[in-house]
Amino acid sequence: MTDLTPADASAALHDIERAEQRTYRAIFRGITSDFLLLWGVAIGAAYTITQFAPRYAWIAWPALQLVGWALTVVLVLLRRPRLSAGGRRRTWQWLLSALAMVVFGHLLLTMLDPVDYRQEGLIWSLIFAFGFTLAGVWTEPALVACGLAVGALGVMIPVWTTSFYFLSMAAAWGGVQIACGLWLRLTGARS
């Protein structure tokens, strides 16, 4: 092997750093995609049931949330071994942040005491839109787009829709999350 100059060594370290970043991004997008698809389907299903079988809505929401959280923990346990120590620690921080967001949402609803389900849906979609956008600013720009779409549709749908409000929310909130999850899965390591 011919002698390496400091410039060659620096270029090699730059290549290493870029490969590490692209690997982290590919894994992060894969894991994020799993969660977006899971919760997109859960939220979409809950709103669809509320639209077409409103008498089961009272049980559908808590049941789907319970299944969602159980699968979330399973996914974290399955996926986190792929990450290095720092990444594994952050996975639990993400999960706790999401849980804190849900607790904050419930506290806000208790304080604001919305008069109907449309106001309640609006508050939840704005809380999640804020969460996605904030997470996206720190990590993945696709989440910013997802957050802005959920927020914008969450504001517009209660105003525009009348008889198909719940189905519209299923498409807007669940659908946007599923679309964002699929996009992250398809793009993988691509920057």
């Binding site: 092997m1 002698d3 390496l4 100059t5 400091p6 060659d8 060594a9 620096s10 090699a12 370290l13 290549d15 290493i16 750093e17 870029r18 490969a19 590490e20 692209r22 690997t23 982290y24 590919a26 894994i27 071994p81 792929r82 990450l83 290095s84 120590a85 594994r88 993988g188 390591a189 691509r190």
Partner: protein, 101 residues
């Protein structure tokens, strides 16, 4: 730790393969297709360099079928991680000394 060049790892694609696999925790693997996307290379190029790294004992390649589709999974072996760390230390030592290595 011995600070010396590793000509096998230093080749551009092999260096990036080892960097990508080293980013994962110990038992974790990367799919061939994911690795190909990360490195922005072709099937043939990646396959050739993986063979060379496997012969040196730096990576372990597992071929299996999932839903009747062939899958190839790759991970860095402990000796591969060690060799990669040594090569990175060598690169850093060249930069620190400011002299060709």
């Amino acid at each position: 730790m011995t600070v010396e060049a590793n000509p096998l790892i230093h080749q551009d694609t092999r260096l990036r393969i080892m960097a990508a696999l080293n980013r994962l925790s110990g038992p974790a693997t990367l799919d061939f297709t994911a690795l190909k996307a990360i490195l922005e290379t072709t099937d043939g190029n990646l396959g050739t360099h993986l063979d060379a790294l496997e012969k040196a004992g730096y990576v372990a390649i597992e071929k299996l079928f999932e839903a009747r589709r062939p899958k190839t999974r790759v991970k860095a072996t402990p000796s591969g991680r060690r060799a990669f760390a040594e090569h990175v230390a060598y690169l850093r030592s060249i930069i620190a000394s400011g002299e060709p290595g």
